[in-house]
Symmetry: C2
Subunit: 222 residues, 2 copies
């Protein structure tokens, strides 16, 4: 469903260059359950942003469902993101002036769901991450792990076909992290594609396929 | 060095009340190495903010070096914080418009160190967390784990007597997390007091004393 060919991402800063991703070439099939591992600063979040069409490569091609992503303008990309992709950001990226419920509802506004339907979807997503009793708090009134769970709920609310989760359990105790992982496995059982960045060896061990990133280069392990 | 007596923290939100901390009573002696554990939302960050004089209790007393903290005005508290306490925030709290070096230097401005001395301290702190080659980046140009390391460097730069670290390795791979923990142990060997919040059982196991937090209540384990 997603294919990369010789994808590179380079940041220029004055004289200096950072090669965040170098010659990334691999394919992720629909329904796969993939973990991404690697040291701090190795390029994992950079890769995730490319997979979620939040950023463009410096060189190389990305293909989504067989078609080149470069051919899609920003409107078309936003449509695919809203329709098919759920993204859990490493830094959560919650809007501070919206409540928890307001934040989780955001991906639904794209399709203009009827209000009752949207409310039901938000309630269901919050229940799945055990955040129902904080629905009216603002992000600043939450703990770190609670914010992380709200970011997860927001990514799940429109039943995405592809879930991209960038270190979704880094702020969670072992028990809560296990319930989140069980959620993702359930999504996978229903046919969803899951790509998850993790620093935890125990979590990575539960994935049949692992992409290892080091200094921007990727090796594929099954 | 820090003593709490029946400390409570309550948040009021309209009709609702959140009891984030309930009757916390314990003492931390100088030179101790203490871990704080507990589920997401249990009150750990709330406790850390009280320990670092970043917040005040709703009821109960805090004592620092034998004297009541309530008797200190904000200027006196800021003085103690700048002088003796290093705080690593769970959400890092870096200033986006300053470079990495600028952020790490912030705690030194309070005492107006001579520029050469300040520059040396910043360079040393960055080297200890292996962030020397990102000194001129801004936080937005860093990975999640790199931001976490900058937050750690900033907490270490003025050689604090008390280090309060709120989940300082949540975004780090196992190897980098181990180097950070070794840093903290070294600080402890030199007489520093370390209080560290963690979700990792392996990290907690290395601490002779653990405070367990659950629904705002604390139990002491040695
Ligand atoms: N400003 C606030 N207003 C209302 N409730 C708050 C506020 N800040 C925190 N809380 C609540 O207080 C409780 C404790 O929060 P705290 O941040 O201390 O948890 P924590 O143990 O650090 O969790 P985590 O491991 O997820 O970081 C949470 O249930 C949270 O929702
Ligand atoms: N806007 C930018 N400008 C310059 N360099 C950048 C920028 N964004 C990221 N980088 C650099 O690109 C590299 C890869 O960053 P990335 O965020 O992908 O790492 P990561 O593998 O997600 O790390 P972590 O595990 O710490 O989150 C890092 O060395 C970082 O400093
Ligand atoms: Mg990252
Ligand atoms: Mg916390």
């Amino acid at each position: 469903v997603i294919r990369l060919n010789q994808v590179c991402k380079r940041y220029r800063m004055g004289e200096a260059t950072v090669d965040a991703l170098v010659d990334a070439t691999f394919t992720i099939e629909e329904g796969e359950f993939v973990a991404i591992l690697g040291p701090s600063g190795s390029g994992k979040s950079t890769l995730m942003h490319l997979l979620g069409f939040l950023d463009s490569p410096s060189s190389g091609e990305l293909f989504f469902e067989g078609r080149p992503v470069a051919a899609l303008d920003e409107t078309a990309r936003a449509h695919v993101r809203a329709e098919k992709i759920g993204f859990v950001f490493q830094a959560f990226n919650l809007l501070p002036r919206l409540t928890v419920a307001g934040n989780v509802r955001l991906p639904l506004t794209y399709h203009r769901h009827p209000p009752a339907d949207a409310a039901a979807r938000v309630a269901d997503a919050l229940a799945r991450v055990d955040m129902t009793n904080r629905a009216h708090h603002r992000p600043g009134e939450l703990s770190g792990g609670q914010r992380q769970r709200v970011a997860i709920a927001r990514a799940l609310v429109n039943s995405p076909r592809i879930l991209l989760a960038d270190e979704p359990t880094g702020n969670l105790d072992t028990h809560t992290a296990a319930t989140i992982l069980a959620l993702f496995k359930e999504l996978n059982r229903q046919g969803g594609t899951i790509v998850l960045v993790t620093h935890s060896a125990e979590i990575a061990a539960q994935f049949p396929r692992q992409l290892h990133v080091r200094d921007g280069r990727i090796t594929d392990h099954r």
